[in-house]
């Protein structure tokens, strides 16, 4: 018997089942297919503008910072402002995300924008989020050439752009959107749910930002919900 068979047999023996029982199989198949929703906090179930306000409040509570711009075209200056505010070099790395590629970066003449993964040498990166969850102030980012995962973790400063209409009230909305985009039961290599900058409280419970991931997380919300 393979290790797999041994384990399944052991589990079945303890549960007193054979594994072939149709009712059990049906129950499991149903749950996987219909993925019923559980208890969803009322907190995020608010009107769109309130959702954005809630998202900002929760992101700031988690020590992130938030900027609002009415048009996508304003993003490059918002990014440049962020770098200037923190005396950072005018350099950012981004992925191939079309929503970032199409922005008028040239309006910020001093800002050098490179494309690709991070190798640890970059101080600032820009990603475009798949979405965000107002309930807890969480960004949702998906892996791929559009927004390489290393950009989320290696640079000291992470700027994340999100469309206001992609800020949902709850996680359930995000799962539905992911299923829609990637297919049922299919996920990208990584989905990062990011709630603020990196932190540690391992030294006498003192909270310090910038453990291994970014020291700063800056969110730019674009447009209206």
């Amino acid at each position: 018997m393979s290790a797999r068979d041994t384990l399944l047999a052991s589990i079945r023996r303890s549960l007193g089942v054979s594994g072939d029982e149709a009712p059990r199989r049906r129950v499991v198949a149903d749950r996987l297919a219909t993925h019923p929703v559980g208890v969803v906090p009322a907190r995020g179930q608010v009107a769109p503008f309130e959702r954005v306000a809630l998202f900002i409040k929760m992101m700031e509570f988690a020590s992130g910072t938030v900027d609002l711009v009415s048009e996508a075209d304003e993003v490059p200056s918002a990014v440049a402002d962020f770098l200037r505010r923190h005396n950072l070099p005018m350099q950012v790395r981004r992925g191939e995300d079309r929503r970032l590629a199409e922005l008028p970066w040239q309006r910020e003449a001093t800002l050098e924008v490179t494309t690709g993964v991070s190798d640890g040498a970059q101080l600032a990166s820009v990603s475009h989020a798949f979405g965000a969850v107002a309930e807890t102030g969480t960004m949702v980012l998906t892996s791929g050439a559009d927004n390489p995962t290393t950009l989320n973790f290696l640079p000291d400063n992470h700027v994340v752009v999100v469309d206001a209409k992609d800020i949902s009230g709850d996680y359930e909305t995000v799962w539905a959107r992911l299923r829609n985009k990637y297919g049922v039961g299919i996920m990208p290599r990584t989905v990062n749910l990011i709630t603020g900058p990196s932190r540690s409280a391992d030294i006498e419970q003192t909270l310090i930002l910038g453990a291994h991931g970014p020291r700063r997380l800056h969110v730019i919300v674009v447009g209206e919900p």
Binding site: V28, G137, G144, L154, R189, T190, Q205, T206, H212, G213
Partner: protein, 478 residues
């Protein structure tokens, strides 16, 4: 080769812990901070209690169908290009990890925090096979420098003071200037970040644990605040996930419920900073990510817990709330428990994994105050299960002979109220004879466990039942 459990020496461990000034100072932080923060987080969310009930139900449902969810999970992992391995024992798991590392010619391995990794003593094993494991969670890194095991399941170095950590950094990071300033915790963190950044980038293989495995999508989830787990799993050639069978959760919606109670119960955060869902290796169009993705599914005694008195223990989502609220843990810290899992959850789980003959002290060293069960996000009846272990010890005659005979002697009387009344009447009179003048005893024969630290109050002279009957007789005689 697993951590040799010192659980049989719990009493000695406890005594040493009580005398350890650094540890006692650190434990004060645990008691004050964790309890308050969880309370605040729970108060901020009106649905918290309903979520706890839902979380419990999801876990129970999954455990009752675990075989089927495992099959579904494996199919999805394989479909996404990953590989599932099954390990019945710790040794099986170690061998699987070693084979993957050897095949890839791995020389260094970065590690995210994994309690299963501790259970396997995987670090010692890799070192013995010329592969260097480097802990990347700051707390784990610190204790790795000290050659210690974690003292808490989510805050592994919680037993250490800042001064102790500084001393270790100075001792080990000899490549840095000796006169550097390490007064502030921020400087220590910055130093760890710098040292570990190089290791992240150089590692051949990254090993993480998994807070949850999602059957619907073949996904493993890790939850960190530092981002170390993400760097561990993204940069190297291969990502190995160590997960025990009960980490399984059916769907993304189900895992949302569990995530909603996890961070709040653990640290009082709304969500941990990084909750990462990983599925398979990098795709064709991924510019980064591991080329291989392996999940090692470990049994190590858990399948035997299904269908029995300890099944509910498999609901545990490793939040640490129970130990954060435990007066025994606050007094002696995690190392006293002597193995991987401390506190109330350790007291219930450890005997299942290493035997109640070795771990018997753990479920006995509890006052059954019930705070653990009160705060457990999945409502595990921890005191009841600790009592179940005591029952097993009693049945197997594992409790000390003096305790058994003392209990038998007492039971002789307690089962016979008339005899009991007679004996206690005498005892009350005898003790009162000696004790009434001062009101208490500083010492009593056979009661040194009590009188070592406390006085014992003197009985009032006759038992209540005797006095009651006398008074009633008197009033009915009138």
């Amino acid at each position: 080769m697993s951590h040799v459990a010192t659980s049989p020496r719990f009493k000695d461990n406890a005594r040493a812990a009580l005398a350890d000034a650094d540890l006692q100072a650190s434990l004060k932080f645990v008691e004050v901070n964790f309890i308050a923060r969880r309370r605040e987080a729970a108060d901020r969310l009106p649905e918290f209690e309903a979520l706890r009930d839902a979380a419990r139900d999801i876990k129970d449902h999954t455990l009752a169908h675990l075989d089927l969810y495992l099959e579904a999970y494996e199919a999805r992992v394989t479909a996404s290009g990953g590989q599932v391995h099954y390990a019945a024992t710790a040794e099986d798991a170690r061998q699987i990890v070693l084979q993957i590392c050897r095949r890839l010619g791995a020389r260094t391995v970065t590690k995210g925090k994994s309690m299963i990794g501790e259970e396997l003593a995987i670090n010692d094993f890799l070192e013995a096979n010329d592969i260097r494991p480097i802990e990347t969670d700051l707390g784990e890194y610190i204790i790795q420098l000290r050659g210690e095991i974690p003292s808490h399941i989510i805050a592994p170095a919680v037993h250490l003071t800042k001064a102790q950590i500084e001393a270790d950094f100075r001792r080990v990071h000899t490549h840095l200037p000796a006169d550097r300033n390490l007064v502030e915790p921020t400087t220590l963190l910055a130093e760890a970040r710098g040292v570990l950044r190089e290791k992240f980038l150089a590692a051949d293989v990254g090993i993480t644990g998994a807070n949850f495995l999602v059957a619907e999508t073949g996904t493993s989830i890790i939850v960190t605040n530092e981002g170390n787990g993400d760097l561990t799993q993204t940069l190297p050639k291969a990502h190995i996930v160590l997960a025990s069978i009960e980490k399984m959760v059916p769907t993304l919606e189900d895992v949302s419920t569990l995530l909603r109670v996890l961070a709040r119960s653990a640290t009082g955060q709304e969500m941990s900073v990084y909750t990462t869902l990983s599925t398979g290796p990098r795709r064709a169009d991924d510019p980064d990510g591991p080329g291989e993705y392996h999940v090692v599914i470990l049994d190590n005694g858990r399948s035997a817990m299904l269908g029995g008195s300890f099944q509910e223990m498999l609901r545990c989502i490793r939040c640490g709330a129970c130990m954060n609220h435990c007066p025994v843990y606050h007094a002696v810290g995690g190392h006293a428990y002597g193995w991987v899992y401390p506190g109330p959850m350790g007291a219930v789980l450890t005997p299942s994994l290493i035997g109640v003959d070795k771990a018997g002290h753990l479920p006995n060293a509890s006052t059954f105050c019930g705070r653990c069960e009160e705060v457990c996000p999945v409502r595990i009846p921890l005191p009841r299960m600790m009592r179940s272990w005591r029952e097993r010890e009693f049945e197997r005659h594992l409790s000390p002979a003096t305790v058994r005979s003392g209990l038998a002697f007492w039971a002789l009387f307690a089962r016979r109220p008339r005899l009991y009344g007679w004996a206690t009447g005498i005892a009350a009179r005898m003790l009162a004879l000696f004790g009434r003048a001062k009101g208490r005893f500083g010492w009593l024969p056979l009661a040194s466990g009590w009188t070592r630290y406390r006085d014992f109050p003197s009985p009032q002279g006759a038992t209540f039942q005797q006095q009651w009957r006398t008074r009633r007789k008197r009033s009915s005689d009138r």
